[in-house]
């Protein structure tokens, strides 16, 4: 049961987006995140939304799943919106009742922030939905490989990531086993208050930690047997290759940056009153 969990929520759908080089995907995702913050008016933000919608459509990931991904940050969105409405006092006053004082500026600012945060989350989950952990580590490895010249060996970081990904299912299985073993000795993990339950986790985590350390020793031996020396002079069997569509996507990413900058300049700073009036 626990064995079937997916890590990083990858959906192997085999779409155009899935087949892109991970470096291209990493590049457009990070560009997008920066551009969402650079966008200073609703029109440049609309361009960001259009791009996100295009990527979601091409990836074949169900819209429902994408929206579900927003659920964990719902609270953050609500709090931010509340603060914006409470403190931004520009534009036309909409409601002025007792201590509640809501202005059009506050509402628009809240909407603006909600869109920004949602876009941020949607695009980063889209990256994990469409990129397998292995290809992600490969992509990171290749992207940061040049850092060796300034003394940062990213190879070790990706090795750690790979091992972590590899051992998550193994350790989950182990937790399952320890849980059963402790239960058969009369341990009760399901009742009592929160402190009691937290205390019950000790007989679960101590054996888990011990076994993880033992595994680490054995793995170190096994890796030494296979001539691992920290990734010096390492080659890769499935070397990543930038294809035509990857170049195209990278080109489009640059076009997107230009688009946001141009819209920012032409449509000016985000102006609550102006936007509201024109909207009405």
């Amino acid at each position: 049961m626990l064995k079937d969990i997916t890590i990083g929520q990858y959906f192997p759908l085999g779409s155009v987006i899935h087949k892109l080089d991970p470096r291209a995907k990493l590049f457009y995702t990070f560009t997008f995140i920066i551009m969402v913050f650079v966008s200073s008016n609703f029109i440049s933000l609309a361009l960001c939304i259009a791009c996100a919608v295009l990527i979601i459509a091409l990836s074949k990931v169900p819209v429902k799943t994408v929206i579900k991904g927003l659920r964990p940050i719902l609270l953050i969105i609500v709090i931010t919106s509340f603060l914006q409405i409470a403190y931004v006092k520009t534009g036309v006053t909409l409601i002025d009742f007792w201590k509640i004082h809501i202005t059009s500026g506050g509402i628009l600012q809240a909407l603006f922030m909600t869109l920004r945060i949602s876009l941020l989350i949607v695009m980063s989950t889209m990256l994990t939905y469409t990129t397998s952990p292995t290809s992600m580590t490969n992509g990171l490895d290749r992207t940061f490989a040049p850092l060796v010249k300034i003394g940062i060996d990213f190879n070790i970081v990706t090795m750690i990531m790979t091992i972590a990904l590899r051992f998550i299912p193994t350790l989950i299985e182990e937790v399952d086993k320890i849980l059963s073993a402790q239960k058969s000795r009369g341990a009760n993990f399901e009742s009592g208050n929160i402190f009691k339950r937290a205390k019950m986790l000790i007989p679960l985590f101590v054996p888990l930690l011990f076994s993880a350390v033992r595994r680490a020793y054995e793995l170190a031996y096994a890796m030494t047997c296979r001539c691992y020396n920290g990734g010096k002079g390492k080659t890769t069997m499935n070397a990543l290759k930038y294809k035509k569509c990857d170049y195209l996507v990278t080109l489009l990413t640059f076009a997107f940056i230009a688009g946001v900058v141009v819209l920012n300049i032409y449509c000016g700073e985000y102006n609550a009153e102006f936007t509201f009036n024109s909207a009405v």
Binding site: K3, T170, E218, Y221, C225, C227, M237
Partner: protein
């Protein structure tokens, strides 16, 4: 000299105890030679020092005194380290703790990648190694979804892909079910017969040990018996005295002999035993 791949010369080794306590040696004054192309089984009960032999054989640990030579290279010499590990590969008991990558074929590629081999050559080696152990069709699978025997064969493929001349397997079948054990045994035999790789394996199972060309028995850090399965199992009482089992056929022959029935002393295989029993019965 040239046909010796692995040579232990008066090797003594002990592990570090807690707080400077001195532990008894895990291996003491061990001398042996393994020739190219041999198929050798190591037997011994728990704590007899046989797992330490595996670690000593490619320099994972170095002897306290004495020397281990791999093709004439001393494992104490760090300059030869990579060459030694490339020549002698070690497979351990728990396959889970040997697999590094999240996809089977990428794990098998790990060794050759570390050696800096050309990508096209790695591809060829990975495919070949997976075919030898019969795991080719699982090359795109995630290791944690495979059975124990399959995982162990992937671990073996990971070593073969480095094209070693000798493989040492430390109880590769101990954690497997009978079917997994059979598959791993079959893979080891193929390596020996078809690829000419020297195979040294440590085991608890007498039936597996019988399939070797040569059996080395260890007891209490020392080498006590060394010979063909026929020679080693001829002395049933001695083997039992070392806390080991004998193959069921040998046990039966011994019981019959003790009852005064004249049977050949070394009935190792089932067929052989059946034949000698039939002979006795026909004689009346």
């Amino acid at each position: 000299m040239s046909d010796t791949i692995l040579k232990f010369q008066n090797v003594t080794f002990r592990y570090d105890g807690d707080e400077g306590k001195i532990l008894p040696p895990a291996v003491e004054d061990l001398s042996l030679e393994i020739k190219k192309g041999e198929f050798v089984a190591f037997l011994g009960h728990n704590g007899s020092g046989k797992s330490t032999v595996a670690k000593l054989s490619n320099g994972l640990v170095v002897p306290e005194s004495g020397d281990v030579y791999v093709l004439g290279m001393n494992t104490k010499n760090e300059d030869d380290d990579i060459k030694i590990k490339q020549t002698v590969g070690v497979v351990f008991q728990n396959p889970d703790n040997q697999i590094v990558a999240t996809i089977v074929e990428e794990d098998v590629a790990f060794g050759p990648e570390n050696l800096g081999i050309e990508p096209s050559e790695i591809r060829r080696r990975v495919d070949e190694a997976l075919k030898v152990v019969g795991m080719y069709k699982y090359r795109m699978h995630e290791p944690h979804k495979l059975s124990g025997g399959q995982k162990q064969r992937v671990a073996i493929a990971g070593i073969i892909a480095m094209e070693p001349q000798c493989i040492v397997l430390d109880e590769p079948t101990a954690m497997l079910d009978p079917e997994g054990r059979r598959d791993v045994m079959k893979a080891m035999k193929r390596l020996n017969c078809e690829l000419g790789i020297t195979v040294v394996f440590i085991t608890h199972y007498m039936e597996e040990a019988c399939q070797a060309d040569r059996i080395i028995v260890m007891d209490d850090s020392h080498l006590v018996l060394d010979g063909t399965p026929r020679e080693v199992f001829s002395d049933v009482d001695r083997i039992r005295g070392l806390g080991l089992d004998v193959p069921q056929t040998c046990a039966l022959a011994k019981m019959l002999k003790d009852d005064g029935i004249d049977i050949h002393g070394d009935s190792l295989g089932v067929d052989e035993l059946v034949n000698s029993l039939a002979e006795i019965l026909n004689r009346g």
